[in-house]
Amino acid sequence: MSDQTPGVTPDRDPDPSPDRTGAAGQATTSGDRAQYGMCAALAVLGIVLIVDATRLAPMQTSNDPMGPRPVPIVLGILMLVVAVLYAIDIRRGGVGASDEGEDVDLTARADWKTVGLLLVVFGVSAALIEPLGWVIAGSLLFWGCSFALGNRHHIRGLLIGIAISLITFYAFAIGLGVNLPAGILQGIL
């Protein structure tokens, strides 16, 4: 953990790639301002909890003296308190250490193009499962995700996708009775 590339500072990346936005780069000297976004999201969630709870009928019976409202209201208030404390912490220069991992290179800027492409591929595949069936949507999902992540062996990626889609379909849908649709391949598979 501590002995990783101490000499390379994030802002000295010699090869700026065109898709960097800088929004989620490493902590810079001015602090990590993107944290305010997370802070705002917490505050909004707190308000939503409270507003949603006030909408509930205050049903209190002798069997349930508390009713459904107090828990979300308390959570909402605590959420607002934490949001304020979080904002103070950010102002003081507090930074949350980003998660590390074997394949995570935090010295590079966030690659939003890959993430965006993955979101699109995942969303489209999700919409296609019902009409086209698991095997086709799953194959597309695998191929599209591996493409987004930098795979350029298109045929191989597609073949692996088709293979694992078919294997999972037969093993889980036919074998274990798990709910995966056959879609337009109904009758063929």
């Binding site: 953990m1 002995d3 990783q4 989620a24 993107a34 944290q35 917490l42 969630l45 909890l49 949603d52 049903m59 349930d64 003296p65 508390m66 828990v71 979300p72 959570l75 605590l78 959420m79 404390l85 912490d89 003081r92 930074v95 949350g96 250490a97 980003s98 998660d99 991992g101 074997e102 394949d103 995570v104 290179d105 590079a108 966030a110 690659d111 993430v115 993955l118 979101l119 995942f122 999700a126 019902e130 799953g138 999902l141 695998f142 191929w143 599209g144 995700c145 493409f147 992540l149 930098g150 795979n151 996708g161 694992i164 999972t168 889980f172 274990l176 009775g177 798990v178 709910n179 995966l180």
Partner: protein
């Protein structure tokens, strides 16, 4: 020796071909995911959840525990051969283990890790078999107020004690609790946080939450920061140890076990603290202090033993009181709930076959793991060469499948994506994931005990403090929350009153429970 009889009976159940097969599949999958970057036992269990709801609970739990134990073994292989550890519990192993590997002693590092894990796992499982019934005997007398206090302690422990930032820990916990209350209120039938979406009326399924957080979140996070040049894996032959290595390893194994088991069992335990403590202990006690930092075998043997012992320790509160202390245990708990079993002190009474077969399966699985890992370590290391685009595409593929099988609707996949983005955000901003998942899973149970306590006291808030257990829990919670203040007071009283060093920077190791 009632426990011993139960355990022997458990062995009778585990030694059937089909149960042995599930144990074997579990430890094999576990080792593989432990070795593979980006996947850990928690994510694997989340992905397996929807499939295993069709299985017999006993067999599924054998499978789960095999994955859990196997992940601990596999994680050490990665951290020794490839410096960057994936599992948060093997961070410490990488410190000395990778140095040993670089010095040409990878075989010994792997051997002391595997044999130490086996020794620690076996002793700790034995401890589990004898401690768990005691905890059950104690827990069975507890009432709702006490349970509520214990759950609150688990919440505060996960949010405030672990991790480097208490604010981020509590934020994470609150997000989890907010997700946990979505759906129809069980008592009054009113919809909370559903925004009139019928798909949310039953709450957000735990499969969607867990797969979104661990699998989709991790895949998106790695995608944003994918290391274009894969780390170099140190080649290794068959693990073995010389006489000197044995002599230097056995004491750290035992000390690691002694540290790991109790820490696994307490709320806010997990493997991070004991592995770190074990490392510090071994560095202090070693006769070869000059080797520390350059590849000392004690620094691998101790933490690896602590790591595996804590895995067994985790199962004590899970099986005895239904309290998860790490992310993997949290998913096992939701699996038990999914089968309609009521995790808690009554589990061992109502499902003795499940519990004791499970405990017996841990001994069997541990032995299988030693046989799988000792001779086959070089083969497992080959998994590290899998092309990353395929690996993470595969994770997203299985994530989509898992979420689809819950209700068979595309809505769950969009929800999965949203929770995946939340998982991305918490990784980006350094929020710990453990309080979040514990919050989601325990929120309904906590509210149930809260309302039951108030029902018993007819709405009087004094009903929340039941017996000595709840007093102790709330006292510990108060100390944990007020700790920065207390620490500052002690410091000023001590005379060297510098400015308080910011809120809660009292742990030096990162404890983000990696998926």
């Amino acid at each position: 020796m009632d426990n011993l009889n139960n355990l022997i009976e458990g062995f009778g159940h585990i030694l059937t071909p089909i149960n042995l097969l599930y144990a074997f599949v579990g430890v094999t999958v576990g080792t593989a995911v432990g070795v593979l970057p980006g996947i850990g036992p928690a994510m694997t269990l989340a992905l397996l959840l929807p499939i295993t709801f069709g299985l017999d609970p006993t067999q599924a739990m054998i499978l789960f525990c095999g994955v859990f134990y196997g992940g601990m073994y596999g994680g050490s292989t990665t951290s020794i051969l490839l410096n960057t550890p994936g599992e948060s519990s093997s961070v410490v192993t990488a410190l000395e283990g990778n140095k040993m590997a670089k010095a040409g002693r990878a075989a010994q590092a792997l051997a002391t890790a595997a044999i130490g894990s086996f020794v620690a796992g076996t002793i700790a499982t034995l401890l589990l078999a004898f401690v768990m019934p005691q905890v059950v005997a104690f827990a069975i007398k507890l009432g709702s107020p006490d349970y509520l206090a214990i759950i609150m302690l688990a919440f505060v422990g996960a949010a405030a004690v672990l991790g480097s930032s208490r604010i981020r820990g509590f934020a994470s916990l609150l997000i989890g609790l907010a997700i946990g209350i979505v759906g129809i209120d069980r008592v009054t039938g009113q919809q909370r946080m559903t925004f009139d979406l019928p798909q949310l009326a039953d709450g957000i399924d735990i499969v969607v939450v867990a797969v979104g957080l661990f699998a989709v979140g991790e895949a998106l996070w790695v995608a944003a920061h994918l290391r274009r040049k894969a780390g170099s894996v140190i080649p290794v032959g068959k693990p073995w140890m010389g006489r000197e290595d044995w002599r230097r390893s056995w004491k750290p194994w035992l000390r690691g076990t002694a540290l790991g088991f109790p820490f696994g069992a307490i709320p806010a335990g997990g493997a991070e603290v004991p592995t770190f403590l074990s490392y510090v202990t071994e560095r202090k006690l070693t006769k070869h202090p000059e080797e520390f930092g350059k590849g000392a075998i004690e620094g691998v043997a101790g933490p690896e033993a602590a790591n595996n012992a804590s895995a067994a320790g985790t199962l004590v509160p899970l099986l005895a009181i239904g309290l998860p202390t790490n992310a993997t245990a949290a998913i096992m708990l939701s699996a038990l709930q999914g089968w309609g079993l009521d995790p808690g002190p009554l589990l061992i009474e109502k499902q003795p076959v499940l519990v004791w077969t499970l405990v017996a399966s841990l001994f069997v699985g541990n032995t299988m793991l030693l046989l799988l890992n000792l001779p086959l370590a070089p083969a497992w290391a080959k998994l590290l060469q899998i092309p990353r685009p395929y690996l993470y595409a595969g994770i997203l593929f299985f994530a989509a499948m898992g979420a689809w099988t819950v209700n068979g609707q595309a809505f769950d996949l969009y929800l999965l994506l949203a929770i995946g983005l939340l998982g991305f955000a918490i990784r980006r901003f350094g929020f710990p994931v453990l309080p979040l998942i514990i919050g989601v899973i325990l929120a309904p149970i906590a509210e149930l005990h809260l309302r039951r306590s108030l029902q018993l006291s007819h709405g009087d808030l004094s009903g929340l403090v039941g017996g000595p257990v709840s007093w102790v829990c709330y006292a510990v919670i108060a100390v944990a929350i007020l700790w920065p203040l207390i620490a500052r007071l002690i410091r000023t009283a001590g005379g060297n009153g510098g400015p308080g060093s910011g809120p809660g920077q009292h742990t030096t190791i990162s404890t983000e429970a990696s998926a």
